[in-house]
């Protein structure tokens, strides 16, 4: 039984305080899973394989031991070889053009208004419907996305922001010990001003990021412990606070 459920069950006045939004789904602390990494093939000659950011194109640098750095001129040459190889494999495409079209395409497409229902992608897979690509570069990693993709991405993002909103209103879930939660001083994340970071925080005597201030608040007014940078709770809080300032111009360093 969690600390909170004990509190609710006993309804003891003191303990019950920990439940910020009692009927909100229970959120547990968790680390973010590691990000996916490209699988670089082993070197055949005992050298080092260098891969392009498409995760497919690679060249072998003979004689370069793992951990060694190439001279600048050689690195430039390797980069040239990677691009040349990509061009051979995509004879009708231009790298810069693909990038440009991708960006134009993205900005000209209004985001779909309603978030897609969870599992929408699974449904599409099950029906075997071939997604309509938004990009002109069929098969290109950087242009193959559909309306459905947009919806899934937006849905994921909104869910993460919503998760952050719940942490923002639940001091106990952040490890706070005295009943204080973020929203008590910052309703709707007001007066957090994420758009002004990084900035020199006089009281800390260092340049602070938004997360430094989040941690400061957790440690001091909430009387908890600073969160690991990869802690979902910290990441979700950042997401919520930033989402509340959508459209506000970035103005780092502002006091």
């Amino acid at each position: 039984m969690t600390r909170r459920s004990i509190a609710l069950a006993t309804a003891a006045g003191c303990a019950a305080i920990f439940a910020a939004v009692a009927y909100a789904p229970r959120l547990r602390a968790q680390q973010e899973p590691p990000l996916p990494v490209h699988q670089v093939p082993d070197s055949k000659s005992g050298g080092t394989v260098v891969m392009l950011c498409d995760g497919k194109t690679s060249v072998e640098v003979k004689g370069l031991k793992p951990g060694e750095a190439m001279p600048h001129a050689q690195a430039v040459e390797i980069a040239r070889q990677l691009m040349a190889q990509w061009q051979r494999e995509h004879p009708n495409e231009k790298w810069e053009m693909a990038q440009q079209e991708h960006q134009t395409d993205q900005s000209s497409q209004p985001l779909p208004a309603p978030p897609a229902a969870p599992g929408a992608d699974a449904t599409a897979k099950a029906t075997g419907a071939k997604p309509q690509s938004k990009g002109t570069q069929q098969g290109d990693t950087y242009a193959s996305f559909t309306d459905r993709d947009y919806k899934v991405w937006k849905n994921q993002t909104d869910n993460f922001v919503e998760q952050g909103k719940q942490f923002f209103h639940d001091g106990a879930a952040l490890g706070g010990t005295i009943g204080v939660s973020c929203d008590m001083c910052h309703p709707d994340a007001s007066n957090t001003h994420p758009e002004t970071y990084p900035k020199y925080q006089v009281q800390l005597q260092r340049v602070a990021l938004l997360r430094d201030m989040i941690d400061w608040c957790i440690e001091n007014p909430l009387k908890g412990k600073a969160l690991d940078p990869n802690d979902t709770r910290l990441r979700a809080l950042e997401a919520y606070i930033l989402a509340q300032r959508k459209g506000v111009a970035l103005d780092y360093g502002k006091h």
Binding site: G13, C14, A19, Q203, P221
Partner: protein, 382 residues
């Protein structure tokens, strides 16, 4: 994290406190001489804007001669103090808010002369628990002056006022004080949002306790209490100054945070025939003042935490306080007092902890900002 560091402002306030501590024990004549010299010296160093040292003005604020000159006199002036929005959890859980409430009580007890009474502006408890209210009652019992209680939504929505009323009596009442008619309202009724959602009392309390929780209803005085108010005022002549206490502001500032009373216009209409009406409210945790027709509004400071100004709806007469330093628990908080003048209008003194006190004169509001403008802080609120 780097070692604790004092901000420029905090350092300045400490220096100033040290100077003022040194002044204690001097007789008044010497005090004034030293103060003048110190002010001059500090200003010469450009450490502060010229309006900062206000203690003389505050010290002499109570007796008001302008009222008798204007022929409106007749009532003896009086002073009352306030403590508001302590938001106490149980002592075992949260010492931070207890410390702050005790600090406010100490402040008020140190006033000499003592105020006629102390208004408690509501939100004594954080979650309406009996233990929280008990703790609050114990702390307020230390006050030397009599206490007038007002209820806030944090005191009310766990048991819909059972414990609070048992301890402190009816939430709305009135009395006459030195020629002024004083009304205490219960302005934080909410239409039932909990039954349909099958909420427990604690869920209901948590919902109301969240400022940005859109599920709850808006505050209102309500039909019954407005009728009570009209009946109460029926016997009061329109020339009698009115002093009205309400937890929520009796006007519409920002709906989303319930800085708002839904039937504010109807309550204002009841108060409209009176020459001088002052409404003192809690809930908003910031320096806030407003004038609507004949009614002057003052918001009280909290002792627990400050709130930023709402994104919209700020009354144009309000001069925003500088945003609070999050590294200083007491910054942006405090208590205060109200000097009711001989003509029944009220000057208001924000006794900000760790900052200079700020006086908001009645003349500033009733003139709609034409005279007696209070000093603006050195920095904008943001």
């Amino acid at each position: 994290m780097a070692a604790r560091h004092k901000s420029v402002e905090t350092k300045f306030m400490e220096d100033r406190d040290a100077v003022l501590r040194g002044l204690r024990g001097l007789d008044r004549r010497t005090f004034l001489k030293v103060l003048a010299a110190t002010t001059g010296a500090v200003m010469a160093k450009s450490l502060m804007p010229p309006h900062s040292f206000q203690l003389i003005e505050v010290a002499n604020a109570a007796p008001d001669k302008t009222a008798s000159a204007a022929g409106m006199a007749g009532k003896p002036p009086f002073t009352f103090a306030y403590v508001s929005d302590t938001h106490l959890y149980q002592r075992t859980l949260n010492q931070r808010f207890v410390r702050a409430a005790v600090k406010a009580v100490d402040d008020v007890n140190a006033l000499d002369p003592q105020p006629d009474f102390v208004l408690f502006g509501g939100d004594l408890a954080q979650l309406g628990q009996r233990e929280e209210l008990d703790l609050g009652m114990q702390i307020l019992a230390e006050l030397k002056a009599p206490v007038k209680m007002m209820v806030g939504e944090h005191d009310w929505f766990y048991d819909l006022g059972d414990a609070w009323q048992e301890m402190f009596g009816p939430p709305n009442y009135s009395f006459d004080w030195k020629g002024v008619h004083v009304v205490v309202l219960m302005s934080v009724h909410e239409k039932d949002f909990w039954t349909a959602r099958k909420m427990t009392p604690l869920q209901r309390m948590h919902t109301v306790a969240g400022l940005d929780n859109g599920i709850q209803s808006r505050f209102e005085v309500g039909d019954d209490e407005r009728k009570w108010l009209a009946a109460d005022l029926a016997k009061v002549p329109h020339t009698t100054p009115l002093l009205v206490f309400s937890h929520s502001p009796l006007y519409k500032y920002y709906r989303n945070w319930n800085f708002w009373t839904d039937d504010a216009e109807q309550v204002q209409a009841i108060l409209k025939p009176y020459q001088h009406v002052t409404v003192i409210h809690g809930h908003t945790h910031q320096m806030l003042y407003n004038q609507i027709g004949n009614i002057s509004f003052y918001g009280l400071l909290s002792t627990a935490w400050p709130w930023p100004y709402a994104p919209t709806g700020l009354p144009p007469l309000t001069i925003q306080m500088n945003r609070a330093d999050p590294f200083d628990q007491f910054d942006g908080l405090g208590d205060g007092r109200i000097n009711v003048r001989a003509d029944g209008l009220a000057d208001k003194i924000y006794s900000l902890w760790d900052r200079n006190p700020v006086t908001v004169k009645a003349d500033y509001l009733v003139s709609h900002g034409k005279i007696a403008r209070p000093p603006a802080p050195q920095f904008p609120s943001y």
